[in-house]
């Protein structure tokens, strides 16, 4: 075993060469599997299918306000756009929650500037949250009812905000992360609390550039944005295009790269076929659904047998297959989003009336119930629906067809949204078609629709059920997840099946085709959560 000794210089060179070779090999493999780093630059054009009625996120409830205007603002805490349902810091750097769950203390970032250059302090945050939770006279706050548990908000120091609750709420942070809770400037709010309805002044990644009504909304990068390196985009342009055919066309010909709400399957197919590998499609469940609402105060729908018959007649599983081809309806589910954290497992779901797999048996049962309740064959009633082509009108057409198959004769009445809402609220209808759309999975949010009509004026079904109200309150205060789920199941059984007050038709499926060069975007179950901060264009 005679050691071979290379001259020292050669040894060093050899070691160096080996090191370099190893490094090159390593970087080669790493380089080929790691995603490209975000590229800075470029302007994103995207489609919004409706226009914002005002510029104030606190008072509006439509996505048409989120998509073009949210990029001008920050929230206190927000949902991670790439990682739903994680709540991450936005203007709040960090926070602590007291043991009893009644006090939330937020540490506010320093050095955050508004677009006009002024510094953000806790005072601005308190003023904005006060406007949302304790709105002054004459100011509309659309989500005020969600924050009933808040007792007070205080700003003891320029970078601390403390929120005290009356009772603990397991999902308070998520509620605070509502994408509509934009942080405004306190000075402006003091001067004129309605200023934000027609003006924009925030701390967000993009400054307001221009808004041409009926045409587009434009924003440009805010150079002094507090998050280093963001936003990647130079700017964005929201194009207001309402017709689905025109939207598909705009996407196909590159006039826009994406539409952030959701396409129907036909539009998706058109776009994908045309663009080939220049486009990709992201799909996910959607926190929206269609509800069938019988008027519980009107004959014969005050008889629970009739209501039950109506839900039994609907072939949800078959309908899901068919309707998911022509609309963006699809998943079958109960009160909580199917595929979400609180979803009812299928084995239990199929036990509910109308959710079973054997449609023939269900329809026979429906006919029997109708006979028992004294409803004659060919009984005529009206189904009131909104004048919106997707997916309401197809839902109406489908329902009419389903009920005809148990010998009923429904008449589809389509109204414009104004008169339709007025009729629903006044109880001037037989059966109505309603919807819900929320921004995150939480029984507090999804179940509130079904509590007694005198407690929630948005429950158009016109019934009072204190047992239900009690169950709602119970689950809201329950901090143990398993027990909470059980109560939610109980609630669901009672609403959809035992009493059949009102019931879901189908939940929606979110289909977002977009150009591959749009990166840093992940589709989630809510179209309200779209956030341009992490988005970039790859070429």
């Amino acid at each position: 075993m005679k050691a071979v000794h290379l001259p020292r210089r050669l040894q060093q060179l050899g070691a160096a060469a080996l090191l370099v070779a190893v490094l090159v090999a390593a970087s080669g493999t790493v380089g080929s599997s790691a995603p490209a780093p975000p590229r800075r630059g470029g302007s994103l054009s995207f489609i919004v299918s409706a226009e914002p009625p005002s510029f104030d996120g606190h008072r509006e409830t439509t996505f048409a306000v989120i998509h073009p205007i949210r990029p001008h603002y920050n929230l206190l805490v927000k949902f991670d756009p790439l990682n739903y349902p994680k709540v991450v810091p936005d203007l709040a750097e960090s926070w602590t929650v007291s043991q009893d769950g009644l006090t939330y203390t937020f540490r506010i970032r320093s050095g955050v500037r508004f677009h006009d250059g002024s510094l953000l302090t806790s005072r601005d945050i308190k003023a904005s949250l006060d406007k949302i939770i304790f709105p002054p006279q004459g100011v509309v706050s659309a989500r005020q009812a969600m924050y009933e548990m808040v007792e007070s908000i205080s700003a003891p120091s320029p970078n601390t905000v403390v929120i005290r609750l009356k009772w603990p709420s397991a999902t308070f942070l998520e509620k605070l992360a509502s994408p509509f809770n934009w942080i405004y400037k306190a000075d402006i709010l003091e001067r004129d609390p309605r200023w934000y309805e027609r003006n924009v002044m925030g701390t967000g990644p993009f400054r307001f550039k221009e808004y041409v009504r009926g045409s587009h909304w434009e924003g440009v990068r805010f150079e002094n944005y507090w998050k280093p390196g963001r936003p990647y985009l130079d700017g964005y342009r929201a194009l207001f295009i309402s017709s689905p055919a025109a939207q598909a066309a705009a996407l196909k010909f590159g006039q826009a790269l994406v539409e952030f709400r959701g396409f129907a399957p036909a539009q998706r197919d058109e776009v994908v076929q045309f663009l080939g590998d220049r486009a990709t499609v992201q799909e996910s469940g959607w926190l929206c659904n269609i509800l069938v609402v019988p008027n519980n105060q009107r004959k014969p729908f005050d008889d629970f047998r009739v209501r039950r018959a109506l839900t039994l007649a609907i072939d949800r599983w078959g309908g899901s297959r068919a309707l998911s081809q022509i609309t963006f309806m699809g998943p079958v589910g109960g009160v909580m989003r199917p595929g979400g954290p609180f979803a009812t497992p299928e084995a239990e779901l199929t036990k509910l009336a109308g959710f079973g797999r054997d449609i023939n048996a269900a329809r026979q049962e429906a006919r029997r119930l109708l006979r028992e309740a004294g409803v004659p064959e060919g009984f005529e009633f009206t189904v009131k629906n909104r004048n919106v082509p997707m997916p309401y009108i197809p839902a109406g057409i489908f329902l009419v067809d389903q009920w005809r198959q148990v010998g009923l004769n429904p008449r589809h009445v389509i109204q414009e949204t104004g008169p339709y809402l007025a009729d629903l609220r006044a109880g001037n209808y037989d059966v109505g078609i309603d919807f819900t759309c929320d921004f995150f999975d939480d029984p507090d949010v999804q179940l509130v629709k079904f509590v007694s009509s005198d407690r929630n004026p948005l429950n158009y079904a016109r019934y009072t059920d204190r047992l239900l109200d009690g169950l709602y309150r119970q689950q809201s205060r329950e901090r143990n997840l398993q027990r909470r789920l059980q109560i939610v199941r109980q609630f669901e059984r009672r609403v959809l099946s035992d009493r059949a007050y009102q019931y879901h038709l189908l939940w929606w499926q979110r289909i977002v085709p977009h150009w591959k060069k749009l990166q840093g975007y992940k589709v989630g179950p809510s179209h309200y959560l779209e956030d341009l901060e992490e988005v970039w264009l790859s070429e």
Binding site: V140, L239, K252, G418, A422, N456, L458
Partner: protein, 317 residues
């Protein structure tokens, strides 16, 4: 002549006032509540007090005659009020869309006139022949074809054959003529065809009337080339009723293109009208209807003045 012009112009004011009053009454009969639509349709829970406050802010709590008074007073100041939905001045909302609608109307008129006059004259001159029948069928078909269906077919044609679609957003002509024209030429064609049908028929019948006149026969007898006779003498005299028809139809194009704008996704006055009605935005609806009616009144006045200029008998009536 001047007195006639002045008299005619002065008469416009009470006419417009009557129009405005009628419009106000018509619009306010429309049921519905914009406040509820705005605040509640998204599914938000808003208290009754807030809804009431909003109504006060929009002036909807005042008695009807007071709202009417406000509006008329505003009109006297040339102020059309503010849109109840967006809070922006009605005149600004309309002005943004008017650019597109006016351009579209003008382009459709150009299409119509360049089709109607030659075809109408040709058909009148070749009366009774296959040419005449062809033109008649062409124009009758134009009246029968729904222009929005024609628009859909045009889009289908462009998509299938050329795999191309017009731009979705409007760029003003002076900023980018190519983009502008490539968007508007197709609806202009779809609308222009129908428009030309009306004008062709009128041209043809007016020409036939004139061709029967003695002085035309005289000109013919003089031995001038047939074409010169037709074009120079007959057409000029036939032009008056044709211009009338073209003018009146043009007035209807502003705001009358509701459905075509839907098909081509144009941000025009028609689409604004549809939205305003859906939202029960009373002030905007009133402003739009006033615009449309005023266009018609204006065109009528202009036509009257034109008639007076060309036909002395009328001036001194």
């Amino acid at each position: 002549m001047l007195r006639y012009v002045l008299a005619r112009v002065v008469l416009v004011l009470p006419t417009l006032w009557a129009v405005a009053t009628l419009i106000f009454l018509l619009v306010r009969v429309i049921p519905g509540d914009i406040v509820e639509l705005r605040l509640v349709s998204g599914g938000a829970y808003v208290t009754r007090e807030v809804i009431q406050q909003e109504r006060v802010r929009l002036g909807l709590d005042k008695p009807l005659w007071a709202q009417y008074g406000d509006w008329i007073a505003g009109l006297a100041r040339l102020d059309l009020g503010t849109s109840m939905w967006t809070g922006a001045p009605v005149s600004r909302e309309i002005a943004i869309r008017l650019e597109l609608s006016l351009q579209l109307a003008l382009m459709a008129t150009v299409v119509a006139v360049s089709l109607a006059i030659p075809l109408g004259v040709w058909a009148a001159v070749r009366r009774g022949t296959w040419a005449d029948h062809l033109v008649q069928v062409f124009s009758v078909a134009g009246l029968a074809t729904p222009s929005f269906w024609l628009g859909i077919l045009l889009l289908l044609f462009l998509l299938s054959v050329f795999r191309w679609l017009p731009p979705m957003t409007f760029t003003p002509l002076w900023r980018d003529p190519v983009a502008n024209l490539s968007q508007l030429i197709w609806p202009a064609l779809a609308v222009g065809y129908r428009y030309s049908a009306v004008a062709t028929r009128m041209t043809r019948s007016a020409m036939l009337e004139v061709l029967r006149e003695d002085y035309v026969r005289t000109a013919w007898a003089k031995g001038l080339a047939e074409r010169a006779v037709v074009l120079r003498h007959a057409l000029r005299n036939a032009l008056l009723p044709v211009v009338t028809v073209i003018g009146l139809e043009f007035a209807f194009l502003i705001g009358g293109l509701v459905v075509t704008e839907q098909v081509f996704n144009l941000n025009g006055v028609g689409k604004l009208f549809v939205d305003a009605i859906a939202r029960r935005d009373y002030t905007l609806i009133q402003g739009l209807m006033l615009l449309v009616a005023s266009a018609y009144v204006l065109v009528n006045v202009l036509l009257d003045l034109l008639y007076a200029r060309l036909d002395p008998r009328i001036r001194y009536a």
